[in-house]
């Protein structure tokens, strides 16, 4: 029975809805839009008016760029008036509306246009640094917006201005897809580009772009030293020429230069410096024996220098070796430099002790006031015959069959 009831009521509903749909067509004609304007300026009061013969106040659905809402009308003298709320009328874009009255199908759209004024120029610029040479560029993107934070309409003129050295350039660009953009290319010189933009007599603030020099090209190096003796004490200073890029811009400070020093034995020494005003400086202590250095510098993976060679002369010509205390105390020296002056402290002396023709021990000391004293302890060097070799400043002296007791 229950089923039959729901059944019947269902049919009644269907019938009723048919009936009301039939009526709706007439109802629709009961409302007609009186507002003819379909374009409004943003921020202005927008009111949609409908004339009606019925005293009802149906809701108006309205959907803007950011979202939708419902509006309640005011009814007066057979006229319905819908005031579009400011959260809708303050944003540009197409607004779709629909009158909600039973099954009425009265709907439409209107457009909210941006104001013809610019209150702020949203500027985005990047990258903030580019390379000199005319190939690299930065991009200026401008969104002129009105006082209600709406982007201006298509084809709004924007002046994109930039200054570099003696040139001041003013480009005319137009907004498209809500934005206007301009690529600003570097010139040959490094330096700083100042950028700004203007639209409808409103100016943006100043932006600056750093134009860094391009990558360095090959350069020269030089060396300076107090004397050409291999005294193991003085310092040789290496300098690069002013390192520049291919447009003659001095490379950025801090460009890292590595000097490779190769001596006669093929050993490599390395020293580094970074540039200030294009010149990198680096130092290396003199060798303590006669040799020839050949030096080449690199900006890693980018540029290299020529090769220079330096000769270092022998300073110590000869030295004495004196044995005492049962041949256990060995005094070497005095070690004398090129003017017979006592060599500065710290000259390395090596003692190689052989026993039965095989190396037994090595002792190393540095000079103090021109002298080096070794003491061969009885605990280590037992009573026996040893061959002793003294090495310093590239000179070698062999003392055969010394008996220690």
């Amino acid at each position: 029975m229950k089923n039959i009831h729901t059944y019947i009521s269902f049919f009644l509903i269907v019938l009723m809805s048919c009936y009301t749909t039939g009526q709706n067509n007439e109802v629709t004609t009961d409302f007609s839009l009186e507002t003819t304007q379909t374009e409004f300026e943003v921020g202005n009061l927008i009111e949609l008016k409908f004339s009606t013969s019925r005293e009802v106040t149906p809701l108006l659905y309205c959907s803007s760029s950011y979202g939708s809402t419902l509006i309640t009308p005011t009814y007066k003298n057979k006229q319905l008036s819908y005031k579009i709320p400011s959260s809708v009328s303050n944003k540009i874009g197409v607004v779709r509306w629909k009158l909600i009255f039973e099954k009425t199908s009265l709907s439409g759209t209107f457009i909210i246009k941006p104001k013809e004024e610019v209150s702020s120029i949203e500027t985005y610029i990047g990258p903030p640094s580019i390379e000199a040479g005319g190939k690299d560029y930065t991009m200026l993107v401008v969104i002129p917006t009105d006082s209600l934070d709406n982007p201006l309409s298509e084809n709004t003129l924007v002046q994109a201005k930039h200054q570099f050295l003696n040139s001041e350039i003013n480009d005319e660009i137009y907004t498209k897809n809500l934005i206007a953009y301009k690529n600003i290319y570097s010139q040959k010189e490094s330096g700083r580009i100042l950028v700004s933009s203007e639209s409808l007599e409103t100016n943006s603030k100043e932006f600056s772009i750093t134009v860094f020099p391009a990558i360095p090209i090959d350069f020269k190096i030089s060396a300076s030293r107090p004397h050409d003796y291999a005294d193991g004490n003085q310092i040789t200073t290496f300098n690069t020429s002013t390192i520049i890029d291919k447009q003659n811009n001095i490379v950025s400070d801090g460009t890292y230069v590595t000097f490779f020093i190769t001596n006669e034995k093929g050993n490599v020494l390395k020293t580094e410096g970074s540039t200030i005003n294009g010149i990198a400086t680096s130092k290396m202590i003199h060798p303590d024996y006669e040799t020839q250095w050949s030096i080449k510098a690199y900006v890693d993976g980018i540029a290299e220098s020529d090769v220079i060679t330096l000769n270092y002369k022998q300073v110590i010509k000869d030295f004495d070796v004196v044995f005492s205390e049962n041949n256990r105390e060995i005094i070497i020296g005095p070690l004398q430099s090129f003017m017979k002056q006592i060599i500065p402290d710290g000259m390395q002396v090596k003692l190689l002790i052989y026993k039965n023709n095989s190396l037994f021990k090595t002792e190393t000391k540095t000079s103090f006031e021109g002298l080096v004293t070794f003491y061969l302890k009885p605990d280590v060097y037992t009573k026996d015959t040893y061959t002793i070799v003294v090495k310093t400043a590239g000179i070698e002296k062999t003392l055969n069959s010394k008996t220690l007791w």
């Binding site: 979202g67 809402t69 944003k91 779709r96 759209t109 990047g126 982007p151 897809n177 934005i179 953009y181």
Partner: protein, 505 residues
């Protein structure tokens, strides 16, 4: 006496002291233990990525041919993600009139516009349930420093349901085009400007398939051992193939099978299950049977924000199987009218309407129907479905009248009696239930009515089941036991009397 009292007081004091100390110590130690349980070392780096699909409308990028910087796939993917998230948080914001999440996807100035509208809607008690179904973005511009993007999203299909004072006042579908400026802030692509360029009412042309002369004589099918869990671990193609042979030999020409929404992995359709469904179709093809695939079973949410997930589910299955020769029709949803009370008729109908549009746009060839659970609902959406199917478990006497009235309401549609049957359960819970011969008599009569009214049919069901999951008819034993005995073949594998009338011949 005084002494005794003193002792009592003393012992009480001491025990209470001990208790207090014990409580304090256990409290401190619990705190100490808590403080020592730091984050699990394996989770320290947050290396695992957990992403749950919440909103996946169709997004079709037009060819990337933008001004400015070259766009790479990685950035485009991030942009798409953030863009869809921006829509999602906005949809939720308008549904709940709360602002959570909006600030992550809209810049300071842009979010103000959304907050204003929410404020307005909140005061007027307006809520908007909505979703977007399609996006067709075109990348217009990508700035050289990779920080600004302009895109045009063409023909965004938006479905909205507008409520005032919790009453539905409007249901609308719109097609709009937007221009959007994004800025990359804090690693998010945030919306800076959002401008609607055009908007119109959107209505899907109803494509009725020409294939209306189906001749469905079939049966609803679940395997004997695994009813309502057909595509589980115990899936065996051989069993299904044997059953299909029995069905074919009995003179029937089709089966109806069910895809359960959760079981199939929701939006992210389980490939294994899909493979098993395909194997089922293969088996049907081998045995000369056609298959009606029910796309949603055991699903009852319908909420607008989940539409995109449901659509992805249906689209994956339909596009995967639409070319299979065994498919004869898509049944959108099993018995959706049962959810009218709990979810609202409008909601359910809107969901079905949208789902039909989707299935038809994915597969324009195969006819579409809805498995209504009764005759009263059968004519709903009659213009959208290609044929009407309804289930009937009531008294056979009324069937003829019901059919006549459906025919009157929808004269041009062919009718399929999608489920019918009688349980032959007679036992402890229903000592005076129907016998096997009652069941046979029922099917005989049913087939007579079917023949008289020139109906197509799919009976319920091939087998008696040993187990019926509680999700089907609940836990009540008299219901469960009844549900177990609708088969034409009993659990011993013997054909019941009704089997003679399985195909009506």
């Amino acid at each position: 006496m005084v002494n005794l009292n003193k002792n009592i007081v003393r012992s009480l004091l001491i025990t209470s002291y001990v208790l207090v100390i014990a409580v304090i110590i256990s409290g401190v130690s619990a705190l100490f233990v808590y403080l020592n349980t730091g984050a699990d070392r394996s989770s320290m780096l947050h290396t695992e990525i957990k992403k749950v699909d919440q909103y996946i409308p169709e997004v079709k990028w037009s060819l990337i041919n933008n001004e400015g910087r070259l766009m790479d796939d990685q950035t485009l993917k991030t942009l798409e993600n953030d863009y869809l998230d921006a829509w999602y948080v906005k949809l939720i914001a308008y549904k709940t009139n709360k602002t959570e999440g909006v600030k992550d996807y809209y810049t300071d100035n842009a979010r103000k516009n959304i907050y204003d509208l929410i404020e307005l809607n909140k005061d007027a008690e307006i809520t908007i349930e909505s979703t977007t179904l399609n996006h067709n973005p075109t990348l217009e511009f990508f700035s050289e420093d990779g920080q600004l993007v302009v895109l045009t999203d063409k023909d965004v299909i938006e479905y909205k349901r507008v409520f005032k004072d919790e009453k539905l006042v409007l249901e609308t579908t719109e097609k709009s085009t937007y221009k959007i400026i994004f800025l990359l802030e804090d690693g998010f692509w945030r919306i800076r400007h959002f401008v609607k360029e055009s908007s119109e009412n959107y209505q899907v042309e109803n494509l009725n398939t020409t294939k209306n002369n189906l001749n469905i004589k079939g049966i609803n099918y679940y395997p004997k051992e695994t009813p309502w869990n057909m595509f589980g671990d115990t899936f065996l193609e051989s069993i299904i193939s044997e059953d299909f042979k029995i069905i074919k030999d009995s003179g029937l020409n089709s089966v109806r099978v069910f895809v359960q929404y959760d079981d199939f992995g929701k939006a992210d359709v389980d490939k294994e299950k899909l493979k098993k469904l395909r194997q089922t179709l293969d088996a049907a093809e081998e045995n000369g049977l056609k298959v009606v695939v029910t796309l949603f079973d055991f699903y009852g949410d319908y909420s607008v924000l989940n539409w995109t997930l449901n659509m992805r589910h249906a689209k994956t299955i339909v596009s995967e199987l639409k070319d299979h020769k065994a498919v004869i029709a898509w049944d959108i949803k099993n018995e959706p009218n049962l959810d009218f009370d709990s979810r609202g008729k409008v909601t359910v109908i809107a969901w079905l309407n949208n789902m039909i549009n989707l299935v038809k746009s994915t597969d324009p060839i195969h006819p579409v129907t809805i498995g209504w659970s009764n005759t009263q609902s059968a004519s709903l959406l009659k213009n959208k479905v290609d044929f009407i199917s309804f289930h009937y478990y009531e008294d056979l006497e009324d069937l003829d009248t019901s059919i006549k009235s459906i025919k009157k309401e929808a004269p041009n549609k062919s009718l399929v009696l999608g489920e019918f049957g009688l349980s032959s359960y007679r036992g402890f819970w229903n000592p005076f239930g129907n016998s096997d011969s009652d069941q046979a008599k029922y099917h005989k009569e049913a087939q007579e009515i079917i023949a008289e009214n020139d109906l197509q049919f799919m009976s319920w069901t091939l087998y008696d089941f040993a187990k019926v999951p509680k999700e089907v008819v609940g836990r009540l034993p008299w219901r469960k036991n009844a549900q177990k005995h609708y088969g034409f073949i009993n659990d011993n594998g013997t054909k019941k009397e009704a089997f003679k009338f399985i195909s009506g011949q």
